[in-house]
Symmetry: C2
Subunit: 548 residues, 2 copies
């Protein structure tokens, strides 16, 4: 039997587009004489469709996709992920299902058992878990067809009471197929491969794994579909961060790649992956919203330099407009470094000094500001003046403003809401300041793209004379670690202090994090790169009183 | 046996404060000779604690509250809601539990079976559902102790496969106690009473029901704890929208109110409840963040007028600063109506004309705007100039800016992000424009508080000469219905058209709603008043392609 893995980028709610894409892949598989083509989880409607799943209309459109694909399934079968209404009145209204299409019709519907409901996942919001276990029999091969999380309950601390493969293995399957929508994070590629290998080894079966690729708002799906043999070795992978399709043969328990030499499974470079994830995240955000032009403010600092580079890679230099917005507090090097960056990227830029507008704001506010010292209000005012100018240009000429906030400042609230926190998409809001330096060094590995002076100088917001980030924040090397332990490892204050950090510093940092939740509530979507990003994957109260 | 219902306002994460509050209530109940005091769901840590529940430290602090209360439980028992770690490695790490405290210690722990995971609820994110059913026996009385949702699976379309009371009734209980954190919405008070009555009647048992009261960020809990007799009649209620405590006697299956005459259950006035919910929502947002002063822009329109009135009720007139921000497009009546409102509310106000700053912005932008027509960019620029001025004043003098966006504009994107969408809290973001008129008429029922001209004139954003909302939007009477069917009833386009609305208008409206998701992602928290508010209860992709 020949099995084709089709790793495609689906667009949430774009039923016609998704169907067309699957039909083209099906056609290609037919020309290779494939017996079965496998698409990823919830391929018809896109993943995550979120509350669109609560609309009957949306479910009907998904159903129509299935029908449109089924009629082409002659001489070939297809596995397509799609939502399926629950026929019983008890329980949630839907199942997260895998449709087995054969002979022009739906032959079997397999339902997802384990519904992730943590971090960015909300599947139990929509779906009823499966309790009945069946194999799919096709051309004499017994397939254990599973959906994403169904293979993931193999840790020492299992989150679910059921392990679907423990049930399915009793029915004597010949192979495992898993259709997934497993988003990228810095550690996910390795974890995911381990999960697939563990399943292959534990059940002594080959695994065919098809993941989604593409970006949806805050999530990036990296693809990396793969095939593992029954020894638990991953022996071939599809591409990462792009669409791909490959066909394998499966004969008497052995799997081989059709027509090609199986790729040696690649050792991943984490910075290369990170850059690819960011580029894909930006590119598809624009594509899926039918925009193509980005604008952003260039401060002379490392954050906006990195976002400019990424935007150029994602959208092309003809579609990126950097704007310098100097004030009386801007240093010469800020302006020169920004210009050097644009020069390196062959990028035209614009300059709008903000002093005049800022002075006029201060004049208007004089009755309420007089006799007060220069402080946070004045700092924010400069930042907001820049935000308004950038948004005006964006509105006038159809740009999306890119946000350049990093995770360290987003955590402790070192940023101005409606100022530098403006933007349609936070590109690097899930990268710590220290990681940003590392990524820029990686980008500069062959030639200086980010001007070296930007990497060497001390970070500064330049909102008052001679200001440095280190005036109000601990050194990023320390700060980033405390934030990491609190946000990503979810350790409490005592546990972090026990790691060797100064107690007062830990308490102050956690207090800043919790006090600034009101700002993050209004932050743009952040491209998720870690196992815990700010945004929908982290949900805390604003008006709580915990560690603050 | 004497049973005390304690309906208290808990503060998320404020363990010391919550414990103190419960101990004071316990002391009071002791003086009444009560045998049992009942507190609401997750009383120790507050509801909803959201992802704070993922911190071991947070759970330990909750546990310490339980211990602190338990030592005072001599001669009286207490039921306290609190999270409890799951001792098994399989499943989620916590239970949502009710602790039965007696003789100075934890006598029994009852766990929640049904975990709401829809709309604003995420309980399956944190908790493992209960599968074991036990009664609590105390002083010869067998108590079916249930937690909130556990009583709610009695509809024709049950969401869960288990109905806890169907299991508990087999064990022969004498009464039902339910501890809850059931948030207010316009229809919730009636629905909730019906659920309690249905349970009492179905199981032929009295029900003691204790709900949370108070506001947490976007949620308002209205209280309305009550007692139903076994015929299913609610015979007594505690207060709505305030803390309350009452003691009842329960003897041989009969329940009576101690020392007082049972209140006839009140007929609710929906506008009075709505106003009370809004006032409580604003008041506790400020209290819980340790702020007391609000600032807001007064446009001369009905939305900012209503929010000013509500802020005065919530915070006192000495703590509310309205600011008039007229432009060259502001009509005389806008200014006069705003002044009349402030006069009616005896409220000093400030005025900052924006023309000078706006002109300077336009000058700075001239290189990029020249030869373009006045349009959306210029309109937004005015709105953002106002936003910056208000935020500057807020930052300088420690105000929270109140947002005055309504649900109709939030739906169709008729508002400026970082402009009139600024603010720490969206007060009326879950009220349709048509509801705002009705609420203002209710507020004016005895005397003119909101100037009548504000209610009579045509709504206008006044961002260009002679602009009217009706230039770009359908009449609110029609628009609000379409939005309601789509957002709250979750009907698709065809279903709405079948209700008799023009097809093109429906499609255009739904398109506007879906296209403007990017703005709502960055909107302030909206006080939830309906069964589907914008915010955490409604989660849709930005970059989807569905009806847009």
């Amino acid at each position: 039997m020949k099995i084709t893995l089709a790793q495609l980028s689906f667009h949430t709610g774009n039923f016609a587009g998704n169907t067309q894409k699957m039909l083209a892949a099906l056609q290609l598989a037919k020309t290779e004489g494939s017996d079965l083509i496998v698409f990823s989880e919830l391929a018809t409607c896109g993943y995550p469709a979120r509350d669109f799943l609560e609309f009957q209309d949306f479910i009907l459109e998904s159903k129509k996709c299935i029908e449109a694909i089924a009629v082409h399934c002659h001489g070939i079968a297809a596995i397509v992920g799609s939502p399926e209404p629950n026929p019983k009145i008890e329980g949630k209204d839907l199942f997260n299902a895998a449709f087995f299409l054969q002979d022009g019709r739906v032959k079997q519907i397999i339902k997802k058992t384990l519904l992730p409901n943590y971090d960015i996942f909300d599947e139990y919001r929509y779906f009823e878990p499966n309790h009945i276990f069946d194999l799919v029999e096709y051309k004499g091969v017994k397939i254990a067809l599973t959906i994403c999380e169904d293979l993931w309950n193999i840790d020492d601390n299992p989150m679910y009471l059921t392990t679907p493969m423990d049930e399915l293995i009793k029915l004597g399957p010949d192979l495992i197929i898993n259709i997934a929508a497993s988003p990228y994070s810095k550690t996910q590629i390795q974890t995911r491969q381990e999960v697939i290998m563990k399943n292959a080894a534990k059940y002594n079966l080959p695994v065919f794994y098809v993941n989604h690729i593409g970006a949806q708002t805050h999530l990036v799906f990296d693809g990396g579909s793969c095939v593992a043999d029954k020894n638990g070795d991953v022996f071939d992978e599809l591409a990462y961060f792009e669409e791909d399709q490959k066909t394998y043969t499966f004969e008497s328990g052995k799997v081989e790649l059709l027509n090609k030499i199986a790729s040696k499974v690649t050792q991943r470079n984490q910075w290369q992956d990170l850059e690819a994830a960011l580029v894909l995240g930006v590119r598809q955000y624009f594509q899926k919203l039918s925009f193509n032009k980005a604008i952003l403010g260039l401060s002379g600092g490392i954050d906006s330099a990195l976002v400019t580079y990424l935007a150029v890679k994602a959208l092309g230099k003809e579609n990126v407009l950097p704007v310098l917005l100097p004030s009386q507090f801007s240093s010469d090097h800020s302006i020169n470094d920004s210009k050097a960056l644009c020069n390196n990227l062959e990028l035209p830029f614009e300059t709008i000094p903000i002093e005049q507008v800022y002075t006029n704001f201060m004049k208007a506010l004089d009755p309420f500001f007089k006799d007060t010292a220069f402080g946070l209000a004045e700092e924010n005012l400069q930042s907001r003046t820049r935000g308004v100018l950038l948004m005006a240009m964006a509105n006038k000429h159809g740009y999306i403003l890119l946000n350049t906030t990093n995770k360290s400042e987003l955590a402790v609230g070192y940023g101005t809401l409606y100022g530098d926190m403006c933007g349609g998409l936070s590109v690097i809001g899930d990268l710590y300041k220290t990681e940003i330096f590392e990524l820029c060094n990686y980008i500069n590995r062959n030639q200086e793209i980010i001007p070296i002076h930007i990497l060497q100088k001390e970070p500064s917001a330049e909102l008052r004379p001679n200001q440095k980030d280190s005036d109000s924040l601990p050194a990023y090397e320390i700060l980033d670690q405390i934030i990491y332990y609190y946000i990503e490892e979810r350790l409490g204050p005592q546990q972090i202090i026990q790691k060797g950090f100064e107690a007062q510093l830990v308490q102050k940092t956690l207090r800043m994090i919790n006090m600034n939740e009101w700002k993050r509530w209004q932050a743009p979507p952040v491209i998720r790169l870690s196992k815990k990003a700010f945004g929908p994957g982290r949900r805390v109260p604003i008006s709580g009183k915990y560690l603050n």
